[in-house]
């Protein structure tokens, strides 16, 4: 759930909230944070793949939103404006930490294979039988490897759509692109993933 209760943004459920935050009401700000913190943390975590960094980045996004709420003109919804701040912070962070190895995401073994199966963050669902888990785990590993080869835009759009559950219109607002461009990134990401898997001998 991205927006809040029953998929409706908290600021729409409580129209008084944003004007109160604008006036510096910290209690209203707390309410806003409580509505978005879980999703904000998840989005940041999927991007930076580290709990402490994801906490810091999502907190920083809330602070920036509070400090700049006066500039929010309401041309887009508050939550897409907020996620735009968050995603830009995460992208900046990733750019600055390009050479730093990711701590909890994909572990590459000596042969260059992805050890995602051993990583709880990428484990196949426990409800599957062991054989199914192995097959899925292997295919999942290949997909993760292939995802690393996507362009940053394709990867971001694919993650926001498929993993974080944003609508294409929302992704367009967050990334400042047209819906057509977002779809193009998404389809190209799918195409590249399919061909990468075929090259690696994975049958879909």
């Amino acid at each position: 759930m991205i927006k809040g209760e029953k998929g409706i943004p908290i600021e729409e459920l409580n129209p008084d909230l944003l004007p109160r935050v604008r006036k510096g009401d910290r209690a209203a700000f707390d309410e806003l944070v409580m509505a978005y913190r879980k999703q904000a943390f998840s989005v940041a975590y999927r991007m930076v793949k580290n709990q402490s960094d994801a906490e810091d980045l999502s907190q920083e996004a809330f602070i920036k939103a509070y400090q700049n709420i006066g500039r929010f003109e309401g041309n887009s919804s508050f939550y897409t404006w907020f996620y735009r701040i968050l995603i830009n912070l995460c992208l900046d962070f990733l750019r600055k930490n390009k050479r730093r190895p990711e701590k909890t995401s994909i572990d590459w073994d000596e042969n260059g294979d992805c050890a995602a199966e051993s990583n709880p963050a990428f484990a196949a669902p426990a409800s599957m039988n062991p054989d199914e888990q192995v097959i899925r785990g292997e295919a999942g590993n290949e997909i993760l490897k292939a995802m690393e080869k996507l362009s940053p835009q394709q990867k971001l759009v694919f993650q926001l759509k498929h993993m974080d559950g944003f609508k294409i219109g929302e992704i367009a607002e967050i990334t400042g692109q047209s819906e057509g461009t977002v779809k193009t990134h998404l389809f190209r990401a799918m195409e590249r993933l399919k061909s990468s898997l075929t090259e690696r001998g994975v049958t879909l």
Binding site: R26, F29, D30, V33, M34, R37, K38, F41, S42, Y45, R46, K49, Q51, E55, Q59, E60, F62, I63, Y66, Q67, S105, A116, P120, A121, F122, A123, A124, R136, A139, G140, I143, L144, K161, H162, M163, K167, I168, K183, L186, F187, M190, L193, K194, L197, L204
Partner: protein
């Protein structure tokens, strides 16, 4: 791949990602009945989306969220307090830029020309002071008069530095002392 098949694959992806209405989904699926290659491709798209492993996000409990919220509030309070602090201004507030520049330029000229940091020879000063402030008798007064003449001559001949030289000053002082004893 013809245009219709490409359109189908895009729409089918959007359908699986919950981006199509029921009507649009129904129209998309109609194409499947007639196109074998798209049927095969649809299977691949479904499999791919199904196989993408979920990146499990760590579950934070109530206590974690309390810490998260407290930390956020502390950070925000610190940031707001820092914003309120008046920033240090290098010069007096309200002083126009031109006046500041002029003051800096005047100071620079003063420092370069007068070199206030350069040590003044204490011996030269003492010598002058002794001679000028404490003439003991007529002879000293006469000596002072000779020195004045010598100084003016030295200035004229650009040899002032010789008189301000501490060594020469010392010699002159000794000479004067000897004169007094006599």
């Amino acid at each position: 791949m013809n245009k219709k098949c490409r359109q189908f694959q895009e729409n089918y992806t959007l359908m699986l990602l919950s981006e199509l209405s029921e009507d649009e989904s129904a129209k998309t699926l109609e194409h499947l009945r007639t196109c074998e290659s798209c049927k095969k491709e649809a299977g691949k798209i479904s499999a791919l989306l199904e196989l993408v492993p979920a990146i499990e996000v760590p579950e934070l409990d109530e206590e974690d969220w309390k810490i998260y919220q407290n930390r956020l509030n502390t950070k925000l309070s610190e940031r707001l307090a820092a914003e309120k602090k008046p920033s240090r201004k290098p010069f007096q507030p309200g002083l126009p830029l031109w006046a500041t520049s002029a003051a800096i330029a005047a100071t620079a000229v003063f420092l370069i020309l007068l070199k206030p940091w350069a040590p003044v020879s204490p011996k030269t000063l003492n010598f002058t002071q002794i001679i000028r402030q404490q003439p003991k008798n007529q002879e000293e007064a006469e000596m002072l008069a000779y020195l004045d003449v010598a100084l003016s001559l030295a200035e004229e001949t650009q040899a002032k530095s010789a008189l301000t030289n501490p060594v020469i000053a010392q010699e002159l002082s000794s000479a004067l002392a000897q004169e007094r004893e006599l």
